[in-house]
Each structure stands twice: as structure tokens, then as C-alpha cells.
């Protein structure tokens, strides 16, 4: 059966990828951990973006998105999946993060922030963030799944009441992730918009993943009643947040470029010299120019093929964005070798395996939600 075939291919891919990952662990510890951080953040941000989308839908009591809500609810399980990966990533601290070395305290720039950048507090923050996300997952997703059975509308009330608190929690945790995992790779650098920047990329990644899965399910007839108007809204959001991400990214760059302060701009200098320059150009093209111009026409926003292409591109661009922020600390040019390939094969295969398994069970729409019918009747 075709289904079995795909599962077998994915499983083989995951196994092959794992072998490559293990080989990388043995051959190059730094590179291993850089890839690990990159992939764990990539999948974590997809999951967080979807969880944020669910919380947002509850916060504003959106009706049009109710039939689609099960998709980001499922995808936010990636957050739970990445929790052990985050704990494992703690082992990367001595390898990649300079502030863990005791000699680094001789540098006043690091000693001055040692109250924040020390291993015990860092680990505590990781655990606290994971705890917050699990809480959000249980309330939003667990409650929604339970509502399938019990059909109790009080879940909506509870979710709506919890949503603002979750938003505050989300804002803090995404900022902490950005500062801890990305910014502290080079502890002398700081940028206070990095939390907003990561949020923009996160939300966009969550939207793109949601769009891909929604279109996939629609093509297989598993979302009856969901039509071009719903898809148009998803496309519109993708378009709007592409612009938002580009705006935040460009303004961070412009401000640091303009003031040209050595204590800040070295971060950009590292990421623009040599082969990184063309890579950044590719990032700008893939993350802004192509999605922007492709999604301008009104019809493009509801056309499944174009949206699938753009959403896939957006996920790849988000990966490239994280790559561009993390890999320069290895001190070499852009590295695209068998370690990167193995990690990609492993994580993508494992992720898709998990997704297929998850999509196979449970309802495809929140059947117990009282506004499901109104959502299906939505027209622009």
C-alpha cells in the first residue's frame, strides 16, 4: 500500500540520517552541536508558532479559523517533542557557548552579565520555558481534544480566559529563547529586538506549516466545507507576516549599520563577509522577495499550488535564517556538507513520521467546538 511505502521510506531516511548524525557526533563535536541547536530551534519554533496561532485564535474569538484549528493544535505537539531535544542541547553549552568557560569571566563584558549567563540559571530558564509551553499545550490542545468527546462549550470560555496570560508567557519565553540560545553564542553582542525578530520568524514558520498541512488535508478531502475563503485568509496572513519579518529584520540591520558601533556591528560584519554575503542575499530573496511578489495578486493567496510552494519556501527560509544566525560562530564560511545533510534527513524524516502518525488518529476538525458550523459558513 502506498501509505506503508511512504512510512518505510521515511523510516529508512530517519535511520540513515541518525547514522550520519551519530557519525558527526564522533567526528566534529562543535559542528554536531551547531546542527543540533539549529534543528531543535527550527522544529521548536514551528511548534511554538502553531501554539501561538491557537492561542491567538482563542484570544480574538476568531470564527473563520475554527475548522482549521486542529492543524496547528497538532503541530504544536512539536514543542513537546523538542523538550527532550532542548534538555540534550544543554550539553552543547560548554562546546559552543563561550561564557561557560571560567576563563571567560576575565572579560568584563561577560563578567558583567554573569548573573544571567551562568549554567544553572540557564538550565532553570530552559526548564521553566518548557514548563510554560507544556501548560499552554495542555490547556489549549488537551482541552480541545477533550472537547471533541465532551462537547462542552465551557472549554472555549476557559481557553479565552487563559489566552492573554499565555500571550504574556509566550512573549517572555520566546525572548528568553532568542537571548539564550541565539544571542549568547556571542555574549558580547546584544540587540533588544531579537525577541521580536524570533517571534516574527516563529509565527511565520507556524503559519507556513499550518498552511501546508491544511492544504494537504484539503487535497485529500479531510476538511469538508473548508474552501478558498479560508485559504485566502491563511495566504493573507502569510503575506502580512512576511512583510512584518522583513521589516523587523531590516530595521535591526539598518540601525546597527547606521550607528556602526564596534561593540554591536561585529555581529553583522561576521555574517556578511566572505561567502556569508551571498547567503544573506539568498535569505532576503527567499524570505522576502519571492513570497512577497508571488503572493501580491489576490488570487494567488487562495491558490493551493502557489501557496504550497510559498509555504515550503518559507519554512526553508526560516531554517536558513536560523542557520545564518548560528553557524558563523563556528568561524568558517557557510558549511553544507554531509553532517548538515544527515541532520536534515534525520529531523525531517522523523518529524514527518511523527506528523503522519499524529494525523492518522483523532478528528481533523475540532468537532466539539460550538462555532464549527459558523466557521465553515465563513465567506469573505
Amino acid at each position: 500500500m502506498r501509505r506503508e511505502g511512504v512510512t518505510r521510506v521515511l523510516a529508512a531516511g530517519a535511520a540513515a540520517g541518525l547514522a550520519g548524525v551519530a557519525a558527526c557526533f564522533v567526528s566534529g563535536r562543535e559542528r554536531f552541536w551547531a546542527n543540533w541547536i539549529l534543528w531543535f530551534l527550527f522544529l521548536l519554533t514551528i511548534g511554538l508558532g502553531c501554539l501561538f496561532l491557537v492561542a491567538l485564535e482563542h484570544l480574538v474569538a476568531a470564527r473563520w479559523s475554527v475548522p482549521l484549528r486542529r492543524v496547528p493544535e497538532r503541530l504544536s505537539g512539536l514543542v513537546l517533542l523538542m523538550a527532550p531535544a532542548a534538555l540534550l542541547a544543554l550539553f552543547s553549552l560548554p562546546v559552543l557557548y563561550p561564557w561557560t568557560a571560567p576563563e571567560s569571566l576575565k572579560d568584563p563584558l561577560i563578567a558583567g552579565k554573569a548573573a544571567w549567563l551562568n549554567v544553572p540559571f540557564f538550565a532553570l530558564r530552559v526548564v521553566a520555558c518548557i514548563g510554560g509551553w507544556i501548560l499552554g499545550y495542555r490547556i489549549f490542545v488537551g482541552g480541545s481534544l477533550r472537547q471533541d468527546r465532551e462537547k462542552d462549550p465551557r472549554f472555549n470560555v476557559r481557553a479565552r480566559r487563559f489566552a492573554p496570560a499565555f500571550m504574556i508567557l509566550f512573549g517572555i519565553t520566546v525572548t528568553v529563547v532568542a537571548f539564550d540560545w541565539i544571542s549568547s553564542l556571542e555574549p558580547a553582542w546584544y540587540s533588544d529586538v531579537l525577541g521580536v525578530y524570533l517571534f516574527a520568524g516563529t509565527f511565520l514558520a507556524g503559519l507556513a506549516a499550518t498552511t501546508l498541512v491544511v492544504l494537504h488535508l484539503m487535497a485529500r478531502g479531510r476538511l469538508p466545507g473548508v474552501g478558498p475563503d479560508h485559504v485566502y485568509n491563511l495566504g493573507g496572513f502569510l503575506f502580512a507576516f512576511t512583510v512584518f519579518w522583513s521589516y523587523i529584520g531590516f530595521s535591526q540591520y539598518l540601525l546597527m549599520w547606521y550607528a556602526n558601533m564596534p561593540e554591536e556591528v561585529f555581529w553583522y560584519k561576521e555574517r556578511l563577509e566572505g561567502l556569508w554575503g551571498p547567503l544573506v542575499l539568498a535569505l532576503a530573496v527567499l524570505h522576502f522577495f519571492v513570497p512577497f511578489f508571488v503572493l501580491i495578486p489576490r488570487d494567488a493567496k487562495s491558490e493551493p499550488r502557489r501557496l504550497t510552494g510559498v509555504a515550503t519556501l518559507m519554512l526553508a527560509a526560516h531554517w536558513l535564517d536560523l542557520y545564518w544566525m548560528i553557524f558563523p560562530v563556528l568561524g568558517k564560511g557557510p558549511l553544507f556538507g554531509w553532517p548538515e545533510l544527515s541532520f536534515a534527513v534525520f529531523f525531517i524524516s522523523a518529524g514527518l513520521l511523527w506528523l503522519r502518525r499524529d494525523l492518522a488518529r483523532g478528528a481533523d476538525m475540532p468537532m466539539g467546538d460550538p462555532f464549527l458550523r459558523e466557521g465553515l459558513e465563513f465567506r469573505l
Binding site: N260, P297, R298
Partner: protein, 381 residues
């Protein structure tokens, strides 16, 4: 066209009734269909078979033109026409040009959308349309919905259309006539208005020109030219003698100069020349000597310049024995404090320059009083 009606209108009470009527009537009557509604109705475009609006395409093209022209203009003005280095950045840096490029893009795009829609696509303003004079227009802008069958080149069959509309549910029918001929607003009148506007523009332009020319030099705009300060070469009441320009206070020392502390010839006699006797020092001394000293003492410092006859003074011959016996410090003292008719040159020459002049004079003295031992004893080859 005589009495041919412009269109036949059927009035309906709700958007739903109108849409049903369109479906009932479309294709079954001769004439072009148009609907008149107080607000846009969903699905109207498809029901009437109207083509999609080209506003989007127009906006995209003009937005792109705006972006490119803004960027090109900025790069040309700041990089080519009058390059100015700002904040140490390269003149062709694109980064600071992005915000204005974005704003101009939005400006072009929005105005294309708004004005293009009104002027080009809707052909507004247009005050002569028959509908504007019809009895139904006030009803339509308030709360009624009209389906109009307009004459599409051929004459309208009023009776047939009226019955079709009534069958489709129209509450009232109106036959809209062609507009009445122009009343007071005749072409002549318009021409006169246009001429008046033209003259007004010319007058306004002329007045603006003179206003802009004269405005900045009229009080109070001149106040920054009219400052309470002392100007050179102008009388001022601030000081009792009325002079704006003042001499420096006694004891003023120019910047970069150490004040001269010599009080008499005896002070200077003991000073030694602090500068080494190098080619560059001698070169500077020569330059300064030719500038300041040769006027009176001559280019060879022998007291025979070109100007003595003109003013009857007798500058010293520096090549004479008396001055050959002067110490370096004594020569320096004369330059600094002046002697007899020679003024002090301390305002013109810094201390180092004076010492280099001393070196030069010494070199001249040696040149005009050379000894045999100064000539190298080598046989020519």
C-alpha cells in the same frame, strides 16, 4: 437624440430582491444592464458579468515605478550629482535609501489606486449623467436598489423592459430621460471661467515670485541678519571710541606660540640656535627671508634691495663684519623686537621660523665670506 430615454429603471427594496431580479432578467432583455445601489453588494460583479477591476495591476506597475525612480533619484543625487559623505558611509550605500523608497512606493501606489480609480476607471467627476437628474437617485443613495437597462446603441423597448422588470419583482419603474440641454453652464461660460482661472494663476504666480523674493528680507524675517554684534569696519556705540574693531589686549599671545620673554639685547645674546642646521631648516629660512626680509635687506642680505630709493631708509648690510660678529641670539633679538626703523616681526614669524631665518643669514654670510678651505680640493676628472 430627441425623446429617446437613456434607461429604464426598476426599483427594489433589498439587495436580495435585486440579485434575484438580475438573475431573472439577464440575457432576456435588449440593453446593457447596470445596477445602482447605496453600497457595494457582494456577488454583484459576477451577477452582472462585469470584468474584474484592473486597479490591482495599475497599482503594482506604478508602485514598482515609484520604488525604482525613488531609489534611482536618491542614488543619483547623493552619489553622482553632489556626493556627500555622511557618517563615513560609502556614497552609494543603499541601506539609508530604503525608507524613502518605501514611502514613495506607497505614495505612488495609493494615488494610482485612488485617483486612477476615480478619474480613469470611473470617469469621475462627471456631473451630466442622466441618473443624477432622475427621481430615483435620492432613493438609491438612501435605501433603494435599482436595476437599469440602458440603451446599448439601439432604442429601448420601454414597455417590454418595464413588464420584464415588474415580473422580476420591481416595486416601481422609472424611465430616465436624457439630460436637459445645458442651462447657464454653457461652453462660453466655461471658457470665461477657464480664462479667469488662467489669469488668476498668472497673477498668483507673479505675486508668489515677488513674495518669495521679498519675504526673507522683510522685518522680522531679517532678524538674523540684524544681530547685536560688533561688525568689522562698522562704527558701533558699544565702545566709547566708536570702533567695532579692537586691538588685542596687551600681552595677547597667538595660538601655538610661546610668549617672547626677551626684554633687552642682553637677554638674547646668550641664546643659542635651538634648530639643527639641516637642509629643510635652511629651506624654510630661505623662504621666510625672501618673504619678509629681502624687501629691505635685499635678496643677498647686503642692504641693497630694490625699494630703498623709494622711501629713503638705510637697511643694514647683514654681510658686514659688524653683523657677522653678532651672535645668533642677537640676530634673533633684532627680528623679534625690531631695531631703529625696523619693526618687530614677532607677529609674522614664529620662534622657530625666526631661528631658521638666523640659520639662513648665517649661511649667506658664510657664502659671501668664504675661505679657501671651503673649496673642495679635488682634481676634476
Amino acid at each position: 437624440m430627441g425623446n429617446q430615454p437613456f434607461s429604464v429603471l426598476g426599483l427594489f427594496d433589498s439587495a436580495q430582491e435585486l440579485m434575484d431580479a438580475i438573475r431573472a432578467v439577464k440575457g432576456r432583455v435588449a440593453g446593457r444592464l447596470d445596477a445602482y445601489t447605496p453600497y457595494p453588494i457582494h456577488g454583484m460583479e459576477e451577477a452582472l458579468g462585469l470584468r474584474k477591476s484592473p486597479v490591482g495591476g495599475m497599482v503594482f506597475v506604478m508602485g514598482l515605478i515609484g520604488a525604482i525612480s525613488a531609489l534611482a533619484f536618491e542614488l543619483w543625487t547623493e552619489g553622482v550629482d553632489y556626493p556627500v559623505v555622511t557618517a563615513g558611509k560609502p556614497v552609494f550605500s543603499w541601506q539609508p535609501f530604503v525608507p524613502i523608497m518605501f514611502e514613495v512606493t506607497v505614495l505612488f501606489a495609493c494615488f494610482t489606486a485612488g485617483l486612477g480609480m476615480l478619474f480613469l476607471l470611473n470617469r469621475l467627476p462627471f456631473f451630466r449623467h442622466p441618473m443624477l437628474g432622475s427621481k430615483s437617485m435620492p432613493l438609491i443613495t438612501r435605501d433603494k436598489f435599482a436595476l437599469a437597462v440602458e440603451a446599448d446603441g439601439q432604442d429601448l423597448d420601454v414597455a417590454a423592459i418595464s413588464s420584464a422588470l415588474r415580473a422580476a419583482g420591481a416595486r416601481a419603474i422609472e424611465v430616465v430621460e436624457q439630460p436637459a440641454p445645458l442651462g447657464p453652464v454653457s461652453p462660453n461660460f466655461l471658457l470665461r471661467v477657464a480664462a479667469g482661472a488662467g489669469i488668476a494663476c498668472l497673477a498668483a504666480g507673479y505675486l508668489t515670485y515677488w513674495g518669495v523674493k521679498l519675504f526673507p528680507v522683510t522685518v522680522p524675517m531679517v532678524h538674523m541678519l540684524d544681530q547685536p554684534r560688533l561688525d568689522p569696519q562698522r562704527a558701533d556705540g558699544f565702545f566709547k571710541d566708536g570702533f567695532g574693531m579692537r586691538m588685542p589686549v596687551p600681552g595677547t599671545v597667538p595660538r601655538g606660540q610661546v610668549p617672547f620673554t626677551l626684554r633687552g639685547p642682553g637677554d638674547a645674546a646668550g641664546l643659542g640656535n635651538p634648530l639643527p642646521r639641516t637642509e629643510s631648516v635652511l629651506g624654510k629660512g630661505r623662504q621666510a627671508f625672501l618673504t619678509y626680509c629681502s624687501v629691505c635687506h635685499g635678496a643677498l642680505a647686503n642692504g641693497q634691495p630694490s625699494m630703498t630709493a623709494a622711501y629713503g631708509a638705510k637697511p643694514a648690510n647683514l654681510m658686514s663684519e659688524k653683523f657677522r660678529d653678532y651672535s645668533d641670539g642677537e640676530i634673533y633679538d633684532v627680528i623679534i623686537r625690531g631695531k631703529n626703523a625696523m619693526p618687530s616681526y614677532s607677529a609674522d614669524l614664529s620662534g622657530d621660523e625666526c631661528w631658521s631665518v638666523v640659520h639662513y643669514v648665517r649661511a649667506l654670510q658664510r657664502a659671501l665670506n668664504a675661505k679657501d678651505s671651503d673649496i673642495p680640493m679635488e682634481a676634476p676628472k
